[in-house]
Each structure stands twice: as structure tokens, then as C-alpha cells.
């Protein structure tokens, strides 16, 4: 496909590309972090670390990973994402309540 940016002022197109590259760099970094976290998580379990300690850490690692996904991969950190963020937080809040319920009072 032809490059349409030709008709834009060159410096702006250049600027945008640069910006995209910058963002891509962040994304690669978050990817590396995610992989790292995954290694740590699996490593801890395989090494048989005490479950009392491991479970909160596992959950924490998962949440951080998901934040990376949402904010970097899915661009929630960028502007124009207020409403998506609001609705994701809404969903997360209901999700949290649901999970708390199902792990506590479901056992009567």
C-alpha cells in the first residue's frame, strides 16, 4: 500500500513515527517485565516456596502484569481513555466483590 504520509508535512510525520517508536520501546520493556514476572511466578511454585507466602506474591505479580497489559499494550495510559478506564474499573470493582463473595460466604 502506498505511503499516505507523503502529503503531510514531513517533520510531523517524522515526529509521529518517533513518538510511535518511543511507545514501542516502552511496550517492549513491559513485555520483558511480563516475561520476567512469569518466570518468577513459575519459578517460585516449582521451587516449592511456602504457600502462605507464595499466594499473595503470585496474585500481586498477576495484577502488575495485567496493569502492564492494560496500560501499555492496550494504551489505557494514553489520553482519550477516561471512559474505558472508568468502565474497566467499574467491571473490576464488581469482579472483586464477586470473587470475595465466592471465596468467603459461599462456605456459609
Amino acid at each position: 500500500m502506498a505511503d499516505h504520509t507523503g502529503s503531510k508535512p514531513v517533520h510531523q510525520a517524522e515526529y509521529e513515527r518517533k513518538q510511535h517508536r518511543e511507545e514501542m520501546k516502552q511496550q517492549v520493556i513491559s513485555f520483558v517485565m511480563m516475561i520476567l514476572f512469569t518466570f518468577v511466578a513459575f519459578g517460585m511454585v516449582m521451587a516449592g516456596v511456602d504457600s502462605f507466602f507464595v499466594i499473595p506474591v503470585l496474585l500481586l505479580l498477576a495484577i502488575v502484569q495485567v496493569v502492564f497489559q492494560l496500560y501499555y499494550f492496550m494504551h489505557m495510559k494514553n489520553k482519550g481513555h477516561d471512559m474505558p478506564a472508568l468502565m474497566m474499573y467499574g467491571g473490576a470493582a464488581v469482579a472483586l466483590l464477586t470473587i470475595i463473595t465466592f471465596t468467603t460466604i459461599i462456605w456459609w
Binding site: M1, V45, A95, F102, T103
Partner: protein, 207 residues
């Protein structure tokens, strides 16, 4: 904006996925859908957590799950998330060819993931006689992980359809939002998987 501008834009804007009103709507609507999906998966996770002790015998999470396979699957899916980020990167740079290429790679990784998952299920059913019907734990496990697998399958079909449909005509303002939402969906699948491997497999193994 005339139809021609949408299908053959004279100039690609900065965010092609949000250049048209339809694009903006799709973008927002899809995010909201994901907000709803969050609750959907939370309900499934909740059910799983409530029932994962109801194993009715030897087929407990500790005895069943093998972490090697899950680790490979995790790597595949995480990587596919990155490749779809690359695809979107090229979309923003208006490089259609590269975008398609990265999406093809994404699909390939997704397929591999799905293959492993099917193998895993097959393995449980035939080696361990552990099925959807054997216990409440079985039902909850296959439902949760299966729902995720179903999402993967749907995502693969969707992205493949987009790749094929647009191969000849390139990026435009009509299909850019479609690509973008498909990639959001794909990331979300990855988000869910992060919790699955943590809550189901790792925590199951820890006991």
C-alpha cells in the same frame, strides 16, 4: 466524510482507528464490552474458586496439573500479545504489509496455544479420566479454561477473517477500527490467561 474518503483516504490520519465517528464508537463500545467481560470472567473465577476443593477423589489440582505445558502456553500467549502490539505499531505508521505479517504471526502463536490446550484437555480426559462430569471441580475447571479457550478460538477466526478480507485492499478508515478492536480483544484474552495460569494452575499446584 464521503465514502470514498473512508475507503481510500487521501491522507492517513494519526490514529486511523479513531478517525471516523464509527471508529470512535467502535473503540469505546468495545472497551465497554471488555468491562462486561471482566465481570463475566470474574463470575467464572468465583465459581471455580468456590468449587476447586470439590474434587470427589484423586483428581485434585495438585495431582493433575503439569506446569511445563502451562509455562509454554503462557509464553506463547504473552508473545502473541507482543506481536499484536507490533501489528498496531505498524498500523499507526501506516505500514499495512508489516501489520498483516505481525498479525499472521499472532494467529500462528494463538493456534499453537490452542493446540496445546486441546492436547491438555485430551490428556486429562484419557490419562486421568478427569472430565467435565466427574466432579464439581471438573465442571468448573473445564468451564473456566474452556471459556477462555473459546475466546481464543473466536479471536483467531476474527483476526484471520480480517487478514484475508483486507489483504488486497490495504488499510483504510473503515477497517482500521476493526483491526484495532480485534487487537484489544486479543490483549484481553491475554489478561484473562494471566489470571488463569496464576489462580488455576500455580495456586492449584501450591494447594
Amino acid at each position: 466524510m464521503s465514502h470514498d474518503d473512508v475507503l481510500n483516504p487521501k491522507q492517513m490520519p494519526h490514529d486511523p482507528e479513531k478517525a471516523t465517528l464509527e471508529g470512535k464508537n467502535k473503540f469505546l463500545g468495545f472497551w465497554f464490552f471488555l468491562g462486561g467481560e471482566t465481570v463475566l470472567f470474574a463470575s467464572l473465577f468465583g465459581t471455580y474458586l468456590a468449587l476447586n476443593g470439590s474434587t470427589q477423589g484423586e483428581n485434585t489440582p495438585e495431582n493433575l496439573f503439569g506446569l511445563e505445558l502451562v509455562f509454554i502456553m503462557t509464553m506463547l500467549l504473552l508473545t502473541s500479545s507482543l506481536t499484536s502490539v507490533y501489528a498496531m505499531y505498524h498500523m499507526k505508521n501506516h505500514d499495512f504489509g508489516k501489520m498483516q505479517l505481525w498479525l499472521v504471526i499472532t494467529v500462528a502463536l494463538g493456534l499453537a496455544f490452542l493446540g496445546f490446550e486441546i492436547y491438555e484437555f485430551y490428556h486429562y480426559i484419557h490419562e486421568y479420566d478427569f472430565t467435565f462430569r466427574s466432579s464439581a471441580f471438573g465442571s468448573a475447571f473445564y468451564t473456566l479454561v474452556g471459556f477462555h479457550g473459546g475466546h481464543v478460538l473466536f479471536g483467531l477466526c476474527w483476526i484471520t477473517a480480517l487478514i484475508i478480507r483486507n489483504q488486497k485492499r490495504g488499510l483504510n478508515l473503515y477497517n482500521a477500527p476493526k483491526y484495532y478492536t480485534a487487537s484489544l480483544y486479543w490483549h484481553f484474552i491475554d489478561v484473562v490467561w494471566v489470571f488463569i495460569f496464576t489462580v488455576v494452575y500455580l495456586m492449584g499446584k501450591v494447594g
